[in-house]
């Protein structure tokens, strides 16, 4: 690609719990597909969307594929900015330790693992959203 390629800031906002609807899985697939386009991509988890990143998900009882391990691949797809809404966690009695750790590997530092997760307040989140060119809500 040339230097003139336009890079836009895309944010995918995940608001729903992982298995009640198809939104969470669809969002994840869109994110992985669009990662091929070299844009500036970030993901936000807010409202019930924070449940998408819960550790130890068990889906046998509902007969659905457990896709939670796929979030760990986001770093491989160069998606390094994950925003978690702190108030959404608080309202649900959750903390970061209930969620999976998401990391990306820095090739320039011998593949050192660096955290992709940013815990932000709603005020900060709204600020970050304002800086985006495109916000897609799922």
């Amino acid at each position: 690609m040339s230097d003139e390629q336009i890079v836009k800031k895309f944010m995918y906002v995940n608001r729903k719990s992982p298995y009640g609807t198809i939104y969470a899985l669809e969002s994840l697939e869109v994110v992985l597909i669009s990662a091929a386009f070299d844009q500036d991509v970030s993901l936000t988890f807010t409202d019930d969307g924070v449940y998408q990143l819960m550790k130890n998900q068990q889906t046998d009882g509902i007969g659905m594929k457990n896709f939670s391990s796929t979030y760990s691949a986001l770093g491989d797809y160069e998606i390094k900015k994950i925003f978690i809404d702190k108030e959404s966690l608080d309202e649900r009695g959750l903390s970061l330790s209930d969620l999976q750790e998401l990391v990306w590997e820095d090739e320039d530092e011998d593949y050192a693992e660096k955290s992709s997760i940013n815990l932000v307040s709603r005020a900060e989140l709204s600020e970050i959203m304002n800086q985006q060119d495109v916000v897609l809500s799922f």
Binding site: L32, A36, F67, S69, S72, A73, Y77
Partner: protein, 110 residues
């Protein structure tokens, strides 16, 4: 569609991808490669085994550039480039190697 190996018929989709990835074994991979006219060698197996491990861990088949990068990390830079991978899998490293590995087509591939 189906693929017959050692007297057993495996269900596949219209592009030859295995319908049930639990049915996969090395004979299936060899039979698929045989049909395409290029028997599998050690270098192919490195990539196929990598893909199966990646799927096991992340539940997805990686996109081609993720595959390239990760192969570079795991098997060395001389193998983590598209020239090498396309020589091994001329129909597209992600597509063709995923098929032999019994995985679904990589997300985003058309």
């Amino acid at each position: 569609m189906g693929l017959e190996v050692n007297g057993k018929t495996y269900e596949t989709d219209e592009e030859g991808y295995l319908a049930n990835l639990n049915e996969w074994d090395t004979d299936v991979a060899n039979a698929m490669a045989e049909i395409d006219g290029a028997p599998l060698e050690e270098n192919h197996w490195e990539v196929i085994n990598f893909l199966r491990e990646y799927y096991e861990e992340y539940q997805i088949a990686p996109a081609v550039r993720v595959l390239t990068k990760q192969i570079g990390k795991k098997l060395g830079k001389d193998k983590g480039n598209s020239k090498y991978l396309y020589e091994l899998f001329p129909y597209g490293p992600a597509k063709q190697a995923c098929k032999y590995a019994g995985l679904p087509k990589p997300t985003g591939c058309v």
